[in-house]
């Protein structure tokens, strides 16, 4: 099998929400691919659409308000959007698993953690109750929970946040999925626990040859743990690159702004760099490039104000959606 072939390919995905106030275009024309055994990070701030993208891949978008209106999600050769709900259920938790941000609310408070892991196992594998329980204990051990044999009968509220997140990870990898979607897995955790959890995910990835789609707003985590990155802003992807190139040479003004405005250890300036303005409301996206009102480069540019730039390849493995990125046609090009 090809070592790093494409496992998941999202093509032109669009997900909209139909509300009384209007259509909320949460995800528009998003395309990226995740390679086997690699970590792909989807970065953006709140409201940019990254979580909805993950839910769309799992086909867990809340209906009837939400709907995937366009695009393809090719997983192992098949388009997930064409599958019946029944087939999709055999994939969810089994081939593609997901972990969420808030472990307290993602675990059922009235069942023991052992029961919940065993339930996930029994749904997809043909195991008896005793075997599933045995496996659940092993999984807890695998995610490095101390005293796993005692912890397996505990309830979520008896555990700390870090432990609960490990339980979630145990549930997710119990069926050895090929793709793990991690939606802000460490945002609610302390930084020392965060490091432990991310190390654990890295280990599991190596052991199981698993790909990870990591969704986060923390650029530091992305720099340390991701192989490839896509930056999202206001429902669109604005930049795609491998991790190193993105941080050494960010091309999109939003990425540049984000990197410059992060408070970081060792910073000696008196003021932080800022991106002026606020993230636009999904119902009132600006025309043209969605970032232009806040962009130091393009806020007064006619083209940025009226025409939305496409995500174009400017170098092998690098795509940017910006009129000012290298490789784009200049404004006075007769082709336009």
């Amino acid at each position: 099998m090809s070592e790093n072939g494409t496992l998941l390919s999202v093509e032109n995905l669009s997900t909209h929400f139909f509300t009384q106030q209007g259509v909320v275009r949460a995800v528009q024309d998003v395309s990226f691919s995740v390679n086997k055994s690699r970590t792909f990070a989807l970065v953006g701030e709140s409201g940019c659409g990254k979580s909805i993208t993950a839910l769309s891949i799992m086909r867990l978008v809340p209906e009837p308000q939400g709907k995937i209106v366009a695009g393809k999600i090719i997983f192992n050769g098949a388009n997930l959007l064409d599958l019946s709900e029944r087939r999709m259920r055999t994939i969810r938790g089994n081939r593609i698993a997901m972990i969420f941000q808030e472990p307290m609310t993602s675990l059922n408070p009235v069942f023991t953690v052992g029961f919940q892991i065993a339930e996930a196992i029994r749904l997809h594998q043909n195991k008896s109750r005793a075997q599933a329980w045995e496996l659940a204990e092993q999984m807890l051990h695998k995610v490095r929970i101390p005293d796993a044999d005692q912890r397996v009968t505990e309830y979520p509220h008896q555990m700390s946040g870090g432990m609960r997140q490990r339980v979630m990870i145990a549930m997710a990898v119990s069926c050895e999925p090929t793709l793990l979607i991690a939606d802000e897995p460490t945002t609610a955790l302390d930084v020392t626990i965060q490091a432990q959890i991310l190390d654990l995910l890295g280990e599991l990835q190596k052991q199981n040859q698993m790909s990870i789609l990591l969704i986060t707003h923390d650029l530091g985590i992305v720099a340390e743990r991701a192989d490839n990155v896509a930056v999202m802003y206001a429902s669109r992807i604005v930049e795609v690159a491998d991790s190193r190139s993105l941080f050494e040479q960010p091309l999109h003004p939003y990425t540049q702004g984000l990197l410059k405005s992060r408070p970081r250890l060792g910073y000696t300036g008196k003021r932080l760099h800022t991106i002026t303005g606020t993230v636009p409301e999904p119902l009132y996206f600006p025309a043209g490039c969605k970032f232009h009102p806040r962009c130091p480069v393009g806020c007064n540019d006619k083209r940025c104000q009226t025409v939305e730039p496409e995500l174009r390849q400017v170098a092998p493995g690098r795509r940017v959606a910006c009129w000012y990125a290298p490789g784009y046609e200049k404004p006075d090009d007769p082709k336009l």
Partner: protein, 330 residues
Amino acid sequence: MNSSVSNDNGFLLKVEDLKTWFPVKKGLLRRTVGFIRAVDGVSFTIRPGTTLGLVGESGCGKTTVARTIVRLIPATAGRVLFENSDLLMLDKRQLRGLRKNIGLIFQDPFGSLNPRLTVGNIIGEPLKLHKGITGAELTDRVAALLAKVGLSPDHINRYPHEFSGGQRQRIGIARALILEPKLVICDEPVSALDVSIQSQILNLLKDLQQEFNLTYLFIAHDLAVVQFSCDNVAVMYMGKILEYAPARELYRNPLHPYTRALMSAIPRVDTSQRGKREILHGEVPSALNPPSGCPFHPRCPLADDYCRKRSPPLEQKQGPETHLAGCWKC
């Protein structure tokens, strides 16, 4: 800044051996079986015009310290000296008077504003209460302050749910400043905000401090934020201060193993800054059953028998600046 500030060694706020213990009651007769030592002997001083950062992970007691200082939570022991009075000893009437000199900024921009009041009412209420100002003068003052924190005065009749998180935090800042306090306690003011908004708010807080000579007690869990915003930093763990130093000094030369582990755990973008990872194993111990001796010893890579037996005092380790650490090993 008026000159009535206490001149005892030139500090604005002095906390001495503050303790906040929550009793744990069990059984039919609700007997007290133990205490959760949320704050266990914390002392620090803040000079006027400076910012002290209290940093630590969740459960270390930093928020409890803030709330105990303003007596939103009853203290168990200790003194809090503010303007020559011990805040913990004041009666209700005196406390009300002194409360207008301390402003509080909260963490959650969505929960810290009353959703049924307009922005004008939210910001103006303290002024109405303490100075009896109403009507046009109240509106003008509120509008002026809105402009100062970066919002349009036109928003004065709007409701909190019509604003974004960053804007709501600005409203919270305006509310904290309307009475022109001397001390402002910022309880995780940017933790719930997006990265690109965090920098705006942090800059705003710095600007306001400079313009009006404010003094901040800045509470956060993010060391990078604290290092930027604060002059001095105290690192807390399980209710105690483990290390205290000027911000730049702390970054340059962290002494306590916990501080070193915290810094090491922060993910870095700049590859040149990534040193050897000092991973901390285990979890924060239960607050009901704190470890004997040094509270950090179960997770400390340097711990030995002595650390298990005796709790190290916070003392000056390296000159010439004040750099305190509570560790037997450094």
